[in-house]
């Protein structure tokens, strides 16, 4: 089909009052679209009908809507089988710049040029529909894994459940009872593990492999090749439910472990409860006075800096075991803070009213054998205002949770970027996104339960359902040729023009999701279903051989080159702003909505992620006579906000190199600025933009202008 672009300038919402639309049409027509016209209310019925009719009559393939932000009226400006580009003349021009000002008019003119130019090379994406396996692999047969397997099977997916031990159940199987998990939260509950195990074993869709580990995961979402021993499976998506190990009590010498056999870990105490034998390991005498030491390792920078979330409730349960066995027993719980959040408070309240359970805040100052066969526990800074000393029969150390996601092989991915899931600080392979807890750094692989964060049995159950959903969703999206989160609608995928690849390996190294592998020569091996479509590879490639149907290096490069750059004598500097479409772009919309004014000298171009910014765009800009480039992306560091994990950080590293290049060209490095901006910081935009413009204005014009 012949490429035909039609373009519309909306004059509603103040655009017509701020700029000369007829002049915009003239400017647009210079680029020879099939049609370029204006309308006073483009999103209205008549406006939309006119566009629809034109598409039909002209057999248009591309439509440029120069009107409001692409964040509004998305459904109205959606025309079947044509490529739609939205140019924002409202929030980014009319609403934030002086009406009828040369600067405003010239900005709008450039945006019209850029919009039409973008369409020259853009194509409507065609989804990569393919046959996929809809089986789910679940690694780990504890509470989380059992629930995830049942959930996936319940919606019709086959499941392969791999468990390292010889029996299902995981850590929870060792529990005598669970702490209360339902209203009124006063009674310990039956252990749900036997029921779950029976349900899994009775489910035809679930294949259980005991005493097994995953020896290899190759392939990609929708078609993982998974080896478990000598068995091979085609798998659509993977749930990692490897759980936790209790913190190693032998490391708790400062809390008395090893000094007396009567100082035990909470895991050992649970075993005692299961056997119904509350006795001292040293002499077999009844343990009637028991001290529970909370945060034994947890909340301690020398051990586990985080809170293990369940130990307070667990010790309340264990204190109750003791009292249920022996009315006259005494349980002392020494805590830093009693953490029984939410409805669990009711269990704490019940314990406070239970004779025999003594609860106090306290800092442990010593746990030593007292010489008379007892263990002396001393604590300071207590609720009673004085130091306390308890001669206990038994001391129980509340052990924390350590995620099982260590160096040893859990998944054994054949990925170029490593065999296991990347972890955050403290070793949890969590997503780092509060809003999107399941998004790990490897597409199609979802973590669940205590491997992800310390959590209790109830939460593991909910979490398992969530992870199963994500796995199923991944299979669905992959088969239909769309991306998974966060670009769940995106049907594009990166195309590699490999004849021109120089095997520099930058794309394979920089992809935050481990999408690309390499052959022996270093040529990237594409795995499109692992891809999140951020474009980091496109930004990394010095040969510019990676592109998407609607987003490529030449597409943005041509937009930059389409900007009209007045010569230096006109004293009209021009700047390019490359901005993250997820956060900085909406922030600019907010600025527009609030009619916040800033310099009209910058032409902003939204990018999928700042990580997709290719260095050549900087060169394109400077050689076109652009005076400076500002890049606005998400915050990075430990608490990164980039939806593609490292995109903004990678961009900032690349730009440091670019700045060095500039200095070699005798250009000031200040001509390039990279700014971190959160979506809510729209109020900072004017200062950021104006300061940049002023700084570079002071440097004088780009000396390459006009060459």
């Amino acid at each position: 089909m012949e490429h035909k672009t039609i373009a519309y300038i909306c004059t509603g919402c103040g655009i017509g009052e701020a700029v000369d639309a007829d002049k915009l049409i003239e400017v647009g027509n210079e680029l020879a679209p099939a049609v370029c016209k204006k309308h006073e209310y483009l999103c209205g019925k008549e406006g939309l009908a006119e566009i629809g009719q034109d598409i039909k009559d002209i057999e248009a393939t591309h439509v440029v809507i120069c009107a409001c932000s692409e964040r509004v009226f998305t459904d109205r400006f959606d025309f079947e089988d044509v490529f739609v580009h939205r140019t924002n003349l409202r929030e980014h021009v009319a609403w934030c710049h002086t009406a009828n000002d040369d600067g405003t008019q010239e900005l709008a003119e450039d945006y019209v040029r850029m919009g039409i130019t973008r369409c020259k090379n853009a194509e409507t994406p065609e989804p990569l529909v393919q046959e996929v396996s809809d089986s789910v692999l679940v690694v780990g047969g504890g509470v989380s894994g059992l629930n995830a397997a049942l959930n996936a099977a319940d919606v019709g997916h086959d499941v392969v459940l791999v468990e390292k031990a010889e029996a299902l159940g995981g850590f929870a199987a060792t529990l005598h009872k669970t702490y209360p998990t339902a209203a009124p939260y006063t009674e310990a509950g039956e252990n749900p593990v036997p029921g779950l195990v029976a349900a899994v074993e009775g489910n035809d869709r679930i294949q259980v492999l005991l005493g097994s580990t995953v020896s290899e995961v190759a392939g990609a979402p929708g078609k993982f090749d998974v080896k478990v021993g000598d068995k091979e499976f085609k798998i659509g998506a993977i749930v990692v439910a490897t759980g936790f190990t209790p913190y190693d009590v032998t490391k708790l010498e400062h809390l008395g472990y090893g000094k007396s056999p009567d100082v035990v870990g909470s895991v050992q105490f649970e075993e005692m409860a299961k056997e119904g034998k509350f006795v001292r390991p040293s002499d077999g005498a009844p343990a009637r006075k028991v001290v529970f030491v909370q945060c034994a390792g947890s909340r301690d920078p020398d051990h586990l800096p985080y809170c293990s979330s369940t130990c307070c409730m667990n010790s309340l349960k264990q204190a109750n075991y003791l009292l249920e066995n022996d009315d006259d027993a005494e349980a002392y719980i020494l805590y830093k803070d009693m953490r029984t959040p939410s409805l669990y408070e009711q269990y704490y309240e019940a314990a406070q009213a239970t004779p025999g359970i003594m609860l106090t805040k306290g800092e442990i100052t010593g746990v030593e054998p007292n010489g008379n066969g007892k263990v002396k526990v001393t604590a300071g800074n207590t609720l009673l205002g004085e130091d306390i000393e308890i001669d206990a029969d038994l001391v129980v150390l509340a052990q924390g949770k350590v995620p099982v996601m260590a160096e040893e092989g859990i998944l054994n991915l054949t990925y170029r970027k490593g065999k296991e899931l990347p972890t955050l600080k403290y070793g949890f392979p969590d997503s780092n996104f509060i809003c999107f807890p399941y998004e790990t750094a490897r597409t199609g692989i979802y973590t669940v339960g205590c491997v992800r964060q310390p959590m209790d049995i109830v939460q593991c159950g909910e979490d398992a359902a969530g992870a199963a959903l994500k796995a199923i969703q991944c299979v669905h999206a992959t088969g239909g040729g769309t991306a998974v989160h966060p670009r769940a609608w995106d049907q594009t995928y990166p195309d590699f023009f490999l004849q021109r690849c120089t095997q520099c390996k930058r794309c394979t190294e920089e992809c935050p999701f481990g999408t690309l592998d390499e052959d022996e020569k270093g040529t990237p091996l594409e795995n499109p279903t692992r891809c999140r479509r951020c474009g980091v590879c496109m930004g990394a490639c010095p040969e510019r051989i990676i592109s998407f149907k609607d987003y490529s290096v030449p597409m943005i490069g041509d937009m930059i080159k389409s900007v009209h750059v007045p010569d230096e004598f006109e004293e009209k500097p021009r700047y390019i702003g490359l901005i993250c479409e997820n956060d900085a772009y909406p922030a600019m919309d907010m600025a527009g909505l609030n009619h916040v004014e800033y310099s009209p000298l910058v032409r902003f171009i939204p990018v999928r992620c700042l990580g997709s910014v290719n260095r050549v765009w900087i060169a394109d800009s400077l050689s076109a006579g652009i005076d400076g480039i500002i890049l606005i992306g998400c915050k990075y560091g430990d608490d990164y906000q980039c939806h593609f994990l490292q995109g903004s950080e990678l961009c900032s590293k690349r730009m440091e190199n670019v700045q060095e290049d500039l200095q070699r060209l005798m250009l000031e490095s200040e001509r390039i600025k990279i700014v971190q901006l959160a979506i809510n910081e729209y109020d900072k935009l004017p200062q950021i933009v104006n300061e940049f413009v002023e700084e570079v204005n002071n440097l004088g014009p780009n000396p390459y202008k006009g060459f």
Partner: protein, 402 residues
């Protein structure tokens, strides 16, 4: 929104019913999340974008459920949609706001400022459409209608009713802040400079009534000393017998943000226990390391205002020492708790509600899956787990029913 999107992205058809004017719930009103201190609008924006691009989700705002009939696989849900008085043609051009001379208390900002009678619910609202608070419109006033170029306003619009068919129902009705006027010893509603934590969030939000800065409502000046009162209603038999799970992290977060806003501010957080679970411990560590923020163990029993200076004196019992502590503050933030919202939802009888009004997450037989703070007070991340899980459970219900 999460249940709807997660289910829709597996191919399910979803009706998303929201009683309010826009999606996002309480989260849209927060300044930041702990522990990352990132803005909630970041994730909301991604979700709005997912919604805009997903034809499987039908969004119904201003909509209440009036009856639920049938059962799993064959629910009939009767809904009532209140008039917005502005239709989807609204371009948010602002002409009507300029024309409207009537002011209303801005509920989105908990009454900390005013908006015109025709207004955008908030700058990131979804749908991005104005609404009219017609209860305060002077009778016969047509100013907004007259000025609207796209005829989007109809002050005579009437509500509609409809019946939707569904295989399964997820309930994610969330929470309301506990009514702080019930805490009579703490002076909310009596002393201007006693506010609640949700109001503090609005003040600290860049798009809030004070553009990201806390002020004393009495004079609009910046407070030099701020006190946070934890468990204002929560963990109290006379009010809410449960812990509201987020308030410790929220106050610590607010204290951290405040120090970014005003380096000189001195703050005290009165607490019973510091409940920040998992890696949220980092937030506590950060507050502990701040020399100008004091964590004071003790439950605040009383707040008294000096009528002339408006300085507030808090009395608390230091439960570490048993001594009484007094502290002065220019602004007091009450960490009020969560009350579940599902009270007037006509749920099938098979759905259980506990003594505190929370839905009991039981089996799937009822075909109704509760999620988030409808089940128990929980921080955002836990609600996202629930919600994603709830999406799966709705699919299971549908699969078993077919």
């Amino acid at each position: 929104m999460t249940v709807a999107l997660e289910a829709a992205e597996t191919g399910a058809q979803v009706h998303l019913l929201e009683q309010g004017l826009s999606l996002g719930g309480r989260i849209a009103q927060l300044a930041r999340y702990f522990p990352k201190m990132c803005p909630p609008s970041c994730g909301l924006e991604i979700n709005y974008r997912r919604l805009r691009k997903n034809p499987n989700v039908m969004v119904h705002t201003l909509t209440k459920v009036t009856a639920i009939n049938g059962g799993p696989g064959a629910f009939e849900v009767a809904i009532e949609t209140a008039p917005r008085f502005v239709n989807g043609d609204c371009t948010c051009c602002g002409d009507c706001i300029d024309a409207c001379g009537v002011e209303r208390e801005n509920a989105f900002n908990y009454g900390l400022d005013k908006s015109s009678a025709i207004f955008l619910p908030h700058p990131m609202a979804y749908p991005m459409t104005y609404a009219v608070d017609n209860a305060i419109c002077p009778s016969g006033c047509q100013k907004c209608v007259d000025v609207c170029k796209v005829n989007a306003i109809n002050l005579k619009e009437e509500g509609t009713t409809d019946t939707l068919k569904a295989d399964a129902i997820a309930v994610a009705t969330g929470w309301t802040p506990y009514d702080a006027t019930k805490l009579d010893q703490l002076g909310f509603g009596k002393y201007e400079n006693v506010i609640t934590n949700v109001m503090m969030e609005r003040m600290l939000a860049e798009d809030g009534p004070t553009s990201g800065k806390a002020v004393k409502p009495s004079d609009g000046e910046a407070p030099k000393r701020i006190a946070y009162v934890q468990c204002a209603g929560s963990r109290d038999r006379k009010h809410l017998p449960y812990c509201s799970a987020v308030c410790c992290g929220a106050s610590m977060k607010e204290a951290i943000v405040m120090r970014e806003v005003d380096e000189a501010v001195e703050q005290t957080i009165f607490y019973i226990d510091r409940r920040v679970m998992g890696r949220n411990e980092d937030v506590l560590a950060k507050v502990e390391a701040d020399e100008k923020t004091l964590l004071q163990r003790g439950k605040v029993a009383k707040i008294v205002e000096d009528a002339t200076t408006k300085v507030l004196t808090l009395s608390a019992e230091d439960t570490d020492t048993g001594n009484r502590v007094e502290a002065e503050a220019d602004l007091v933030v009450l960490a009020t708790g969560m009350v579940p919202n599902n009270g007037d939802l006509p749920l099938p009888e098979s759905c259980q509600v506990d003594d505190n009004g929370f839905l009991v997450a039981g089996g799937l037989e009822s075909g109704v899956v509760p999620a988030g703070c409808a089940v128990r007070p929980a921080p955002m991340a836990a609600c996202m787990q629930d919600a994603t899980g709830a999406a799966l459970k709705t699919l299971v219900i549908a699969a078993k029913a077919s």
